[in-house]
Amino acid sequence: MIRYIRWCAYFCALLLVALLVNIGRVQVWEAAAYGANPANKRPAIARYAEPRGDVLVDDRPVTGSRDSGQVLRFERTYANGPLYAPVTGYSSQTYGTSFVERAEDAVLSGTDPGLSAFPLWYELSRGRPGGGNAATTIRAAMQRAAYTGLAGKRGAVAALEPATGKILALVSSPSYDPGTLSGTGPRAEAAWARLNADPAKPMLNRALRETYPPGSTFKIVTAAAALDSGTVTDVDAPTETPDPYPLPGTSTLLPNAGTGCQDASMADAVQWSCNTVMAKIGVRVGLRGMVEAARRFGFNEDGLRVPSWVSRSNFDTDMSQDQLALSSIGQFNTKATPLQMAMVAAAVANGGELKAPYLVDRTTQDDGSPVRRGAPRSLGRAMTPATALRLQELMVKVVDNGTGRNAAVPGLVVGGKTGTAQHGVGNAGTPYAWFIAWAKAEGTGLPGVAVAVVVEDASAVRGDISGNGAAAPIARAVIRAALPVPDPGPAAPAPDPAEGPAAARGPARPQGPARPQDPARPQDPAPARGEVPAPAAPVPEAGPGGGPR
C-alpha cells in the first residue's frame, strides 16, 4: 500500500505542476494579450482611476476632474468649455481625446515616463504617478477677446508670438462644450450625435483644421516673392497694369473692386488691395518663384504639429498663367488655415524668420516640477530681413491709411492686410472676410503679436462683407488684449471677474507691466472709432468674376 500511496502523491504532485505551468502561461505568457483584449476594461479603469492632469491657460487650469463614482471613476470637466475647446479638445471616456488632450495624453493621464523620477519603480509596483499638467501658450485675455469678437459668427482666430511661435489665441466659432462628451452613457452619446449632426460643425477646429481661400491676405506672400526674387525692386514704382487686367492666355478680365489701381505701385496695390497689380506681379514672379515663396511660408507642408496636426495649406504647384494670376491673389485653388495666415503675418513681423507655432509651453508633474518644455523652433526664413522690413512698412500703411483702418490701435504700430475671399461654385457662397495683422509697441523693434482672423458669414448682406468691416475689429481686439497700450481711456480698468487676476499674470511683456485692456469690456466696442475708408479710396477686394459691386 505504501507504494500506491506514493504513486497517489506523485499523481497529486503532477496535478500541482500542471496548475503551476498553466498559471505561468496565463499570468506571464498570455498576460499581454489578455491586457490588450479590447473587452478587458482594466486599462480604461486604470486610466480613469486618478484625476486627470489639467490643461493650464495663464497657469490656471481650464479643465477639471469630477468623481463620477462609476467604474470609470474620474470624468473630465471644463471650466470654460466653448472658449477653450479648440485648444483643449475633449477627453471623453466614450470618444477618446482630441487636440491638447490627445497630444499630451500621456502626461495628463499619468503614463508619461517623465512624470516619475523612478519610472522603474512604477513599472514594478504597477502604480502610476498622478496626472501631470500641460501649460499652454494661450493667453486668456486674447482668447477671450477673439472669442467675444467672433460671438455669433462662424469663423476662427489664430494669434502668434512672432519671435517664438507661441500660439497666444486659438478660437473657432461656433464652439461647443467638450464637457458634454466627458462621461459614458446616453448623455455623452446624445451630445456626440447632436454635435456631429449640427450643420454649423461646432466641433470643427476652424483655426487649425479648416482651410479657406485666403483672398487678398495672400498678397503679402506674393509681395514677398516679388521682392525676394527681384521682380519688384522699387515698391513705389508704377507697374503698368491695366484695370481690369486680362488674365494671361484668356479673354477673362480681372477687375478690381474699386478705382485707382491702374498702373499702381506695389505699395499702393498692397495698401488698397489691387487685384490686378498683384495678379500681374505673381505672373511675373512665375510659377516656380511663387510656389517656392509659398512653401517658405509653410504652404504645401503636411507635417505641421502644434502638437496637434494642422491641415495642409495649399498653393498649387502646376498651374497655367491665368490660374497663377488668380492664385497670386489668394483665389483659385489656394487655401490656407487661419494658423497659416497668422504665420504669414508673424514671419513679416519677425524680420522674415518663420517660427514653428506651438501650443504647449511646458508639461509639469502635478507638483509643478517640469517634465518637458516647449522650445521655439525655426521653420527657416520666409523672406530676407530687408523684404520683411519693406513689407512691414506696406502693411502699416494698410492700417494707417488703407483698407484696414479698423485695426488701428493708438500707441501701437499695427500692420495688417485685409481679404475678402470668394468661394463656392460661381462664387455663390457668402465671401469670407479675412484680416491678418501684426502689432508692436511704438519705438521698439520687438515684434509683439501676429493675428489672423477669418469670418465665414460676416453678414447677411453680401455687399457689406469686407475684411476691414468684419475681421479687422476682431484682430484689433486681440491685439489690444495682447499688448499693453498707453491707454488714454479710463486708467487701470477693474479686472474682468470672469478672468480674475489671471489676465494680469501673463508673461511679462517687453513693453512693460501695464495690463492690456480687456476687449470684452463695453467701453471698447468692437468696430472701433467709426473709422471708415475715405470715400476716395478704392473699395477693396474682389475676386475674379466678382465684378463691380
Binding site: M1, C8, Q27
Partner: protein, 454 residues
C-alpha cells in the same frame, strides 16, 4: 502477481523514533507567522481600499489569533505528536481567504460577507478543537462506516427537495442560512471507503477472475456494494447538477480503490468510463455543455459582441496580475461578477498577489496534501493509511478542479477553493479534514507505547 504478494506481505514501516520530537514550539511559531501575515494582509486591504484601518480589525485579528491559539492548545494537549505544519497552513489559508473576501466586500458594499465568513471560520475552528479533543483514536471511526455512508447519502439527497441556486441543487436554505451538505458528505464517504476497503482489500487485491494480461475482474461480491454506493452518489450529484463534486467523488473512489488494491488497469478503465460519461453529460446537459464551450473558447462571447464571460474575466484577472500582482486592493477582479468571492476567489489572489503569490498559495496546498500523504505512509493501520490518503486526495482534487477551472486548464466546475472561497459549509468541512489529518498524524508520529513508557 509477485509484486502484489510482495505488497501485501510488506513489513510495517520501522517504528518512529522513541524520542520523536513533538515540535509543538515549531507549530506555535508557524501559527504566529500565519496569523501575522493574515492580519497584515487584512490591514493592507483596509488601507488600500478605504485609506484607513478597517473597523473590524480587532475582531479579525483577535478571532484569528484566538482560534489559532485554542486549536494549538487542543493539539498540544490531545495530539502532541501531530504534524506541526498542518494547523499553521490551515490558519494561514483561512486567514488569507478572509482577507480576500474582505477585499472583495469593498467592491460589493451591498453584499458584505466577511463577517459571516469569520463566524463560520470560528465555528470550523471550534469543531476542529472538538474533533481533536473527542476523537482520541482515528480507528474509532472505522466502526461507523455504514452509519457514515447512510448519513452521506441522506445529506446528498436532501438538497434535491430544495430549489436550485444558479442551476445546481446543492444548497439547503433554511432560516436564512445556506448550507451545502455535499461538502460534509465527502468526509463521510472518505471514512466509509477507507473502512470498507481496509476490511476487504485482501479480497479485492488477490481474488477475481483473470481477464487478460494482468487485468483481473474484481470479485463482484466485494466490489458490488462499494461500486453501488459510488454510482448512487455520483448519480445523485448529476441529478443535482453538481458536476464538480461528482468529479471529486469519482476521483476519490478511484484513488482509494487504487491505493487499496494496486490495480492500475481498473483505474484506466475507470478513467475511460468517466471520460465517456463526462462526454455524454457535456454534450447532452446544456448547463455543462456551455461550460465546456466556455473552456474551449473563453472569448467567444466577446466575438459575439456580448462582452467577456466569467471565465474570460477570470483570465483577464490572472493576466492583469502578471508576475508580482497589482497589490491587495488594487485589482479589478470584481469585473468577474457574482461568483468572484466563491468559485473565482483565486482570480483575486492571482490578480492582486500575482504569479508569485498564487504559486505560494498553491504550494501551501501542495504542502498540506503532501503532509497528508506522509501521514498515510507513516501510519501502520490500513484504515488510517487509506483515510489519510483519501483526505489528502480530497484537498488535492478540489484544488486542482477549481484552480484548473478558473485558469482555463480544464472546464469549469463549481467548487469551493478550500479555506479561500466564501462559503460556510466549505470552511467547516475543511477544518474537520484538518482535524482528522492532525489526529492521523499524531497517531503516525506517536512513539510505540512501551518505548515511550521506557
Amino acid at each position: 502477481m509477485t509484486a502484489l504478494t510482495a505488497q501485501v506481505a510488506e513489513p510495517a514501516p520501522p517504528p518512529p523514533d522513541a524520542h520523536a520530537p513533538r515540535r509543538r514550539g515549531v507549530e506555535l511559531t508557524l501559527l504566529a507567522g500565519a496569523v501575522l501575515i493574515s492580519v497584515l494582509g487584512h490591514l493592507y486591504v483596509g488601507l488600500a481600499t478605504t485609506g484607513r484601518i478597517p473597523a473590524g480589525s480587532a475582531r479579525y485579528a483577535g478571532g484569528l489569533a484566538g482560534a489559532a491559539l485554542l486549536a494549538h492548545l487542543a493539539v498540544r494537549l490531545r495530539a502532541p505528536y501531530a504534524d506541526p505544519v498542518v494547523l499553521p497552513i490551515a490558519v494561514l489559508l483561512n486567514g488569507l481567504g478572509l482577507v480576500l473576501i474582505q477585499r472583495l466586500d469593498a467592491t460589493t458594499p451591498a453584499h458584505l460577507t466577511a463577517d459571516d465568513q469569520l463566524l463560520w471560520s470560528a465555528f470550523g475552528a471550534a469543531l476542529f478543537v472538538v474533533a481533536v479533543v473527542l476523537l482520541r483514536d482515528h480507528r474509532t471511526l472505522q466502526r461507523y462506516a455504514y452509519l457514515s455512508v447512510a448519513a452521506a447519502l441522506v445529506l446528498m439527497l436532501v438538497p434535491v427537495f430544495f430549489p436550485a441556486v444558479n442551476g445546481a441543487h446543492i444548497w439547503i436554505r433554511f432560516a436564512g442560512l445556506s448550507f451545502q451538505p455535499g461538502e460534509f458528505a465527502k468526509i463521510l464517504l472518505a471514512v466509509f471507503f477507507a473502512s470498507y476497503l481496509a476490511a476487504n482489500r485482501t479480497a479485492l487485491a488477490l481474488t477475481g477472475r483473470r481477464l487478460f494480461w494482468r487485468l483481473r475482474l474484481l470479485p463482484g461480491r466485494v466490489l458490488g456494494p462499494i461500486l453501488a454506493i459510488w454510482l448512487l452518489s455520483v448519480g445523485v450529484l448529476v441529478l443535482e447538477r453538481d458536476l464538480g463534486t461528482s468529479l471529486l467523488f469519482f476521483g476519490l473512489f478511484v484513488i482509494m480503490l487504487f491505493t487499496a488494491t494496486g490495480r492500475i488497469g481498473w483505474i484506466a478503465i475507470g478513467l475511460v468510463l468517466a471520460g465517456l460519461g463526462a462526454y455524454a453529460v457535456g454534450t447532452l446537459e446544456p448547463h455543462v455543455n456551455s461550460r465546456v464551450d466556455d473552456w474551449l473558447n473563453p472569448f467567444a462571447s466577446i466575438d459575439r459582441g456580448e462582452g467577456p464571460g466569467q471565465l474570460a474575466q477570470s483570465l483577464f484577472s490572472f493576466g492583469a496580475g502578471g508576475l508580482l500582482g497589482a497589490g491587495l486592493g488594487h485589482g479589478q477582479s470584481f469585473l468577474i461578477g457574482f461568483a468572484a468571492k466563491s468559485d473565482f476567489v483565486l482570480a483575486t489572489a492571482g490578480e492582486e498577489l500575482g504569479l508569485v503569490g498564487l504559486t505560494a498559495i498553491l504550494l501551501l496546498y501542495g504542502l498540506l496534501v503532501s503532509r497528508g500523504f506522509r501521514t498515510g505512509l507513516a501510519l501502520r493501520d490500513p484504515f488510517g493509511r487509506l483515510l489519510a490518503t483519501g483526505l489528502a486526495s480530497i484537498v488535492a482534487l478540489q484544488v486542482f478542479v477549481i484552480a484548473g477551472g478558473v485558469t482555463g486548464l480544464i472546464p469549469l466546475t463549481g467548487m469551493a477553493m478550500p479555506f479561500l472561497a466564501q462559503g460556510g459549509s466549505s470552511v467547516v468541512t475543511n477544518w474537520i479534514i484538518v482535524a482528522l489529518l492532525v489526529r492521523l498524524s499524531d497517531s503516525a508520529r506517536r512513539p510505540e507505547p512501551q518505548e515511550s513508557a521506557a
